[in-house]
């Protein structure tokens, strides 16, 4: 179903590359572990060496050589310009509006870009208790540009969230394993598909009638340079 089947790169790699391309050299980026960390560090190692990475553990300007496995790896502290307390990261740095990009993931997203990372089912008696919001609710409203990384499936892209953890107001793009979604007239629309992905694949993997942009494009496949940098990072662990 996803591009990974046919291509010489995986769907996760396509996601990471597509996400990294959204970062510019002067971004200050609030990064979570996993794909966001992979994407942000890929950007640092390719077109955006000046991009500042901030992890909620308090590391400002971290430049990990090896990808961190956890938000608080020692590597992050050792390579950071500054390490501050967790209360300070959320008050002086995030709340102050000094961070312009934030990556978020979620278990569910709706057509307005609102996110659920709290529960599946009713809050009082959930079918699945998820980890919870963590930094997401304030990141979602505290940065100018929210990038969401989320694999496409009808269980994730739902008509109705079971719980609204974070608001989609500042969401700029949703990067999935199938394509890219952006807001059109306040509602998420498919604006690009990854190479080898049919629009039908995306519609089938979305739990609501997904708008498709008139100017639908196709994502540039990862370049060799991007894949080399990406795989060099991954072999160093994590991602």
């Amino acid at each position: 179903m996803s591009a990974a089947v046919t291509a010489t790169y995986t769907a996760d790699e396509m996601m990471a590359v597509a996400a990294s391309r959204r970062l510019t050299d002067d971004n200050v980026c609030f990064v979570g572990i996993g794909l966001p960390s992979l994407a942000a560090n890929l950007a640092r190692h390719t077109h955006a060496p000046g991009c500042v990475l901030i992890y909620e553990s308090g590391t400002i300007g971290a430049k990990p050589v090896e990808l961190p496995l956890s938000i608080g790896d020692g590597e992050l502290a050792e390579t950071a310009d500054a390490v501050v307390s967790v209360p300070e990261i959320f008050s002086y740095w995030l709340q102050s509006g000094r961070i312009d990009v934030g990556f978020l993931g979620a278990a569910q997203i709706d057509r307005h870009g609102n996110l659920n990372s709290t529960v599946i089912g009713p809050y009082e008696a959930p079918a699945v208790r998820l980890p919870g919001g963590g930094g997401a609710p304030e990141i979602a409203l505290g940065v100018e540009h929210v990038f969401v990384l989320l694999r496409h499936s009808p269980r994730a892209f739902v008509e109705q969230l079971d719980f609204t953890t974070s608001l989609g107001d500042n969401l700029r793009v949703v990067i999935t394993d199938l394509g890219l979604l952006e807001r059109r007239d306040g509602e998420l629309a498919l604006v690009a598909v990854h190479p080898g992905v049919e629009v039908g694949d995306v519609l089938a993997a979305t739990g609501w009638d997904l708008l498709v942009a008139d100017d639908l494009g196709e994502t540039e496949p990862p370049t060799d340079a991007e894949l080399d940098a990406l795989r060099a990072l991954r072999t160093k662990g994590g991602g």
Binding site: I33, G74, P87, Q95, V128, G133, G135, L167
Partner: protein, 283 residues
């Protein structure tokens, strides 16, 4: 003034059933040894406070020590779910777990307010969404601008517990690397315990070090490797394999209970805990 004491004595003296207890650590320096001692001494009805409850809280919950969890993110970092936490919330096993759920920013503001002896913390947060209706948050109005902001009640745990790299003979404690919210957790608490990797004659100041004077602590306990499977910057690495293994160990109730009996309940301290792990996984 801090007394240098064995961990078992410090827990026996300072942590009581029904206490509000915060074992803090933001992926680094997580006080696992202290958590294990709470389990060995069968503390009950604890309200556990932590921004990022992970394996040690999963263990405390699964062993029936907790009646309430105050938190903002409860998962196995980089791995997935906390199965014991989920089982308690989803199925009430071994007992129902009451939740007071915040965002990280809210938890951090609540700790900072507690450390500053203020009854509430103010932040730009809890705007919209379903969380505000599920937690303790109110709105306050700025008397100068009329702006509305969120207010969270200060955290004032009965006991704050942290793990640090070093302490000196006077009980001054030093940690470095990622120091998270540990200063606030200690200063917000009525009583405080620190476990440390090492006792030294003199603390040597280091870049990014955080020093907590002995007079703000009640007990300082030597517990080398007391953060395992978390890490202690400058001492040992994070045991990432254990975090992955925990997913299997904790998935099934009986497997979990057997593991806890063998490696925690039936061990006396960090040393025997680690010895039991070494036996379990022969090199």
């Amino acid at each position: 003034m801090a007394t240098i004491a064995p961990l078992c004595d410090a827990v026996a003296e300072h942590v009581r059933d029904g206490d509000v207890v915060a074992l803090e650590g933001f992926t680094h320096l997580i006080p696992h040894a202290a958590g294990h001692e709470l389990i060995r001494q069968e503390r009950r009805d604890l309200t556990l406070v932590r921004m990022t409850p992970d394996i040690v809280y999963d263990q405390l919950i699964g062993m029936g020590c907790a009646q309430k969890l105050v938190f903002s993110w409860g998962g196995n970092p980089g791995v997935g779910s906390l199965h014991r936490f989920r089982d308690a919330v989803e199925h009430g096993w071994p007992a129902p777990l009451e939740l007071e759920e915040h965002s990280h920013a809210g938890m951090a503001a609540a700790y900072a307010a507690g450390a500053a002896n203020l009854p509430f913390g103010v932040l730009r947060g809890y705007r919209g969404g379903d969380l505000p209706s599920r937690t303790r948050v109110e709105r306050v109005t700025c008397p100068f601008t009329g702006e509305e902001l969120a207010a969270v009640p200060a955290h004032r745990p009965d006991v704050g517990i942290i793990h640090a790299q070093q302490a000196d003979r006077r009980g001054n404690v030093q940690l470095w690397g990622i120091t998270g919210v540990q200063k606030e957790a200690v200063l917000a608490s009525k009583r405080a315990i620190a476990t440390v990797e090492e006792m030294v004659d003199e603390l040597e100041p280091r870049p990014g070090c955080l020093v907590l004077p002995g007079w703000v602590l009640d007990a300082v306990c030597l517990a080398p490797h007391g953060a395992h499977p978390s890490y202690a910057h400058g001492y040992y690495e994070r045991d990432n394999g254990f975090y992955v293994a925990w997913d299997e160990i904790s998935r099934d109730r009986d497997t979990f209970l057997a593991w806890m009996r063998r490696h925690v309940v039936e061990t006396a301290d960090v040393e025997s805990y680690r010895a039991s792990l070494a036996e379990a996984v022969p090199a």
